[in-house]
Symmetry: C2
Subunit: 342 residues, 2 copies
DNA sequence: CTGTTAGCGCCTTCAG
DNA sequence: CTGAAGGCGCTAACAG
């Protein structure tokens, strides 16, 4: 591998001139620049990332902190990870993966001590996330994916659940639905402070009652059979129910089956719409499920972009960006029809 | 951050002694060692990864090469990624993620030029994978996850599909099934040389006919409706079919529905068993699907372990390890019963 | 068993 | 606009 000295020698300039020609941090005459470029091409020169990091005290490496144990990671997370890697690479950064528990700050500390990364992206951020004050105290740049309501003045990139739920409700109402059931995640997950669940729990009843709807919120563990039981119960008690909003991918097949087993066709007699879901999940089932899908790429692009901007000092205001989910209509939703009975 | 010089000063020894005390590459007296340890604790010293890399010409960073566009990545891949990160961290290595296309060697070249990583793990390896000769020529240590039949004398870690299919067949036969249908992936995927599909296509008919079974292999695109149509067709043409072996997660719900719609209960009248699937997928449906699940952790542990062994010179023979899938019985399989008709 | 020292490849101040 | 030179923090000869 050619070094910067080889390039300097071949181009007939000093090392520093080559360095500045590459970084652009100091003007370099056109003729020098040309000879340097030529020499670099000829030698196939590529600056050594490690040496550059040591000298500049910036590694251009970002860490993506995952918490795989906590909540079963889903398909959407996978897309986020590869998106983060892409986004970082595009901007000349590398991405390392750290898998650790939210509460185990010592693991985090251990990795940080290596001084291998310039900054960190935190996945699965939840309310009262201990990693946020920890990183803040340590002075290490970071960017949370998701938000922590208890962290004031912190930037974030997150799905706009409020707006998504509002739109989801409006969408169903415009199709004539007046009796809508939200299938949220478990009460335990709600209690843990997991943002999406907390926000849906807060927004859905409020908006549904403002719209004058007949509504109910169900809490289901991540098991289709449990969701099935809950929805079957709802349909039995409130046969007028014509739509389910499902914020719980694991339970989708159960909701569909509850409709079918009660004699309802989907989307004829009942609509099933997934919330904050992903294409991969929604298209696994029959019928393919209409879903409000997370704008993962945009969100992760934002997170990585803002973190890098922070690192490079191009960071002006504190960005707090919310992006609503995008509606993808498939075959599980349609106009409301009064149910004639099984 | 304290440096090695601070530690040396405080412990009253030279820097090299500290260095050797840490690496163990040279004997150090017990008393020195003790004072060094104390000094390190006091200063909270952690060696700087970058400086260490530059001096030793080993970065202790591995790259995991993903090809997200090529085949829709599934849940199992996600588990593999976090497992790789874990495994690497445990051995003192970092893992960076590179998302790129199999055929675009220039992207790979670009990343390699940074000399940031000591070695590479290749995901989604397929037959005639161009990355293998490329890395071999470049002399960069690597380990393929999956195998390339055209690469001779290359090591690998892969699922033992032959054995898995043999066992899956035996399992069904022992339950009394004599008419079994394999739902493989699409003909295009087969043609692309994707290992699991190629191997299933090779092994299933051979073994099934050796066992004297009535069998058929179906090729389905990754769409549940297509799988539904194919299976419905099979059931109509061969009503004696009592079991489906499904090597295509996306189509599982369609197979289940085809059974149900033809008046068959699962697992009463028909068994549905997933091949090379994952828990996350198998438990999304009703009934929960009996599945032969990939031993992802073991496989990835092997890949990372062998790559690191290679890097550290503890590498003896060429490891070519095959691990069969593990059977997890759920609610979609059971004894064969002659079908009485709908 | 221990210390001294020359790099690793690059960045960046300082001097010109 | 350019060059020389001193590190960045650590490893690994080399010399005891």
């Amino acid at each position: 591998m050619a070094t910067i000295r080889d390039v300097a020698k071949l181009a007939g300039v000093s090392v520093s001139t080559v360095s500045y020609a590459i970084s652009g941090d100091r003007p370099v005459s056109a003729s020098s620049k040309a000879r340097i470029q030529e020499a670099m091409r000829e030698l196939g020169y590529r600056p050594n990332a490690i040496a550059r990091s040591l000298a500049s005290k910036r590694t251009r490496i970002l860490a993506l902190v995952l918490t795989p144990e906590e909540r079963g990671i889903g398909l959407s997370e996978l897309a986020l990870i590869t998106c983060a890697a892409r986004e970082a690479a595009e901007k000349g950064y590398h991405l390392v993966l750290w898998a650790m528990k939210t509460h185990d700050l010592s693991e985090l500390e251990n990795q940080l001590a290596h001084e291998l990364v310039d900054g960190v992206i935190l996945m699965e951020v939840r309310n009262a996330d201990p990693r946020i004050p920890f990183l803040r105290a340590r002075g290490l740049p970071f960017f949370p994916f998701g938000r922590d309501d208890t962290a004031q003045n912190e930037s974030f990139a997150d799905t706009d659940f409020e707006l998504t739920i509002y739109r989801a409700l409006t969408h169903l109402v415009s199709l004539g639905h007046r009796s809508i059931c939200l299938v949220n995640q478990s009460a335990e997950t709600l209690a843990s402070g997991y943002g999406p669940v907390v926000r849906a729990h807060e927004a859905f009843p409020r908006m549904a009652s403002q719209m004058g709807l007949d509504f109910e919120e169900l809490f289901s563990h991540a098991d289709p059979l449990i969701g099935y039981g809950l929805c079957a119960g709802r349909l039995a008690a409130h046969p007028g129910t014509t739509a389910f909003l499902v914020m719980n991918d694991k339970v989708l097949s159960g909701v569909l089956k509850a409709c079918a087993d009660s004699g309802r066709s989907v989307p004829g007699d009942a609509s099933v719409v997934a919330l904050a879901s992903s294409e991969a999940t929604a298209t696994m089932l029959i019928p393919a499920v209409t879903a409000w899908e997370m704008e993962g790429n945009a969100l992760m692009g934002l997170a990585v972009g803002e973190l890098i901007a922070k690192l490079e000092g191009k960071y002006l205001e504190v960005p707090r960006r919310l992006i609503p989910c995008r509606l993808v209509e498939r075959s599980s939703s349609g106009p409301a029809k009064p149910f004639a009975g099984a």
